[in-house]
Symmetry: C2
Subunit: 234 residues, 2 copies
DNA sequence: AGGGCTTTGTGAACGCGTGCACATGCGTGG
DNA sequence: CCACGCATGTGCACGCGTTCACAAAGCCCT
């Protein structure tokens, strides 16, 4: 009875690391590694070994003391927990540059997902082929979602259309949304939303970059305390 | 002296939210809003109001009690703190689908960044125009970085080339890397790296989706207690 | 001009995630 | 068959981030 996958709740922080473990285990498996220790996983994932063990222990006791983890078996368990034993069809809203890139993204279908449809408001784009899938009009979204039993939608529209796209997805019956548009979206309770904003990521980098620059400047000033005229530095 | 921007250390969690505030404040400013309360910001950013105030207090006491925050002024302060008073040139490695999408990404240059160069290993792509920028060969990366004083690099290659791209960026003198490739990269200490993996995001959604499905199934089983005889619930 | 209303800024408590350290338990070799 | 060694699994303490609750403080209205 406890073997059912909906076991205990897994901390969100762990859920966010499981895909990383999955990826690196996949790579190790391809190279022929059959057994792996938490230490090695930690090394590859750049995290603490104890954290790896704790994370994996949420899936069950699938390691062997004194030995480590069976790579293939562990892969399977993580996939199961993440719901990747099945292929999830995904619908992409927006067939622009970004939508096309996502549709053609290598690590997309290779990892448990397939493009179940692409829609766009622009009737110019409707009918064109993007990564092997024909672009449909956004009006057909609901039909597409129902026909393919799609529960995950990806927003790849300009920021101004993001909320409308999200609303359309929710209305169509999607229950998880991945938003790439540079504009936050809101969804009713019960809908899982994840935001991936390129400019947000860049701005975080910008912050650290500026910090580094400031630190350098401060160090220079400290080395040359003249405040006005500066002497030679080395 | 304390007005210098390199003031106190700001928690990473706050740094990750500042760009979100920045974006929504920008939107509000465009709509003509000149003053805004922490409550309103919280509403728009879907976070707690106290968190907003604490986050903003790290920048300084820029609010007016009983009134709120001056939108334009606050915008300026956040930009300053994030290092966005200047435009950061960015170099993109990989001129494939993803690289092209990123180069043409709307919320890119509009938010303090500009494409300082795009490089690719494929000499077929070299010389072509992507979003107004000519693709250079990856061998010219170091020169490009030096000439444009670039410190931020974006990896948009296939997963197999990600580490090589990152190494090339580091060798060229870049100190911050944003990685979109579906493969973790490692960089020397002192280099800031952020990973954005599409499949990781989708897999997290998949987890929640499966959870939802399990919850539904459990609810159904409970409602139809065929397993043993069960009494009515409620 | 002054009182009251509103909203900020922040001290303090809470909760979660992280990391340490060790007991548990399995494989292995003698 | 037993003893040793090694890696897992986990209780516990610590630290960070979140949240509450309230005092400080500015504006507006009377």
């Amino acid at each position: 009875m406890t073997s059912r996958s909906g076991r205990r709740r897994i901390p969100e922080a762990t859920v966010e690391r499981l895909p990383v473990y999955l990826r690196l285990l996949d790579e190790q498996f391809d190279v022929g590694v059959t057994r792996i220790s938490s230490e090695e996983i930690a090394e590859l994932a750049a995290v603490n070994a104890a954290k790896v063990r704790k994370d994996l222990s949420y899936l069950g006791s699938y390691g062997t003391r004194g030995v480590g983890y069976e790579v293939e078996f562990l892969l399977c368990q993580i996939k199961r927990e993440l719901g990747l034993m099945q292929e999830w069809p995904v619908v992409i809203v927006g067939a622009g540059n970004l939508g096309q890139a996502l549709a053609g993204y290598g690590g997309f279908m290779q990892r448990g997902f397939l493009v179940g449809g692409i829609v766009d408001v622009d009737s110019e784009k409707v009918g064109t082929d993007v990564g092997g899938v024909t672009v449909s009009h956004v009006d057909e979204l609901a039909g597409l979602v129902a026909a393919n039993d799609i529960s995950i939608g990806v927003v790849a529209t300009p920021g101004s259309a993001a909320q409308a796209a999200a609303d359309a997805l929710v209305a169509a019956g999607v229950s998880s949304i991945l938003n790439f548009a540079p504009h936050g979206i809101t969804a009713p309770h019960g809908i899982t939303v994840r935001e991936v904003d390129l400019s947000v990521e860049l701005q975080i980098l910008s912050y650290h970059e500026q910090r580094r620059a400031n630190a350098r400047r401060a160090a220079t000033l400290r080395a040359v305390p003249g405040a006005g005229r500066g002497g030679q530095v080395s």
